[in-house]
Amino acid sequence: MRTVNRAATLLLAVALLGGGVLMAVAGLLAALGRPGPLPSGWSATLTTARWADAPVRGVAAAVTLLGLVVLGAELRRWRPTRLRLTDDDGWHLHRRSVERRLARAVRSVPSVRRARVRVRRRGDAWRPRVTATGDPAARADVEFALRRELDRLTAPRRGPIEVRLVPARRTP
């Protein structure tokens, strides 16, 4: 969501910049009595369309819905960027770096090719979830590699490790 927000702000800024320049050019041309860069029909549409018209109501409903979706996305609780190590000493690990490190540990298991790890926190317990491509028989090895890496990271209480191993597709 943080990345989406940043991209959306950039888009909004570019739209404001472009729209503002277009509006300034149109205003200047109108002041000089010359035809503007915008299609001529838009002003007629705005002066004839009524609030009760179906397209106008449709656009209003879409705008409301978009606003509600954005509002919901902004107000819901986001995944914290840090994972707390213990209660009281103020130490945290950067979540993304931990997930990358754990994914690398999983990929070090023979027969595992691609791996993605997400770490959720329930109370003080870390609950890693692994999605990997490899032999399903390597599940125990994956769990072992993950536990060893979590030990190295001095992770606090650990919840159950969820492992999903998808066999690699054979090429004909």
Binding site: R50, W51, V56, V63
Partner: protein, 183 residues
Amino acid sequence: MSNAAHRLLWTVLALLLVGAGGTAWAVGAGRLPGAGVPLVGAGPVRWWRAGAPWSGLAVAVGGLLLALLGQRLLAAARRVPDRLGGTLAHRGDGAGRTRVASGVLTGALERDLLRAPGVRRARVVLTGPVTGPDVWVEVRLAPSAGIGAARAHVDAAVRRFAATVGCRPAHLDVTALVDETSG
């Protein structure tokens, strides 16, 4: 712009969208008066015609202001807050207080932190009162670095720093980024 600033911006924009869209929908549905009125009424059209050429110039000025807002937003959005400058405050005997830029102090603590094996980068921010500052530390650790050893070193460095400066940190917050590769 920080993540919080982006979030605040989009929350406000979403509220505006909901307010504007909801009001327009309510007018169109007949729950508010004005369903039969055109989107742009006779008043603005009369103003536009009667005010020519000044109305066109007014629109041009509005467009320039909008473009300026977009440019400022673009500049702010592209600027990532990489380096936060903390400020320490010292209350005097009478009214007022002295504010101290903490750059020199944080530089000393950062150099001490970088002396630990496996610490690749360190950033420190100090805020709050001089005698009991809040210490915010971010360290990037090599894959070979043990978290336990890094914790011990950071704690010792903060203790040394507190003893040298003559303060007692009120709050220590450390974020460690563990590198994936040794490159």
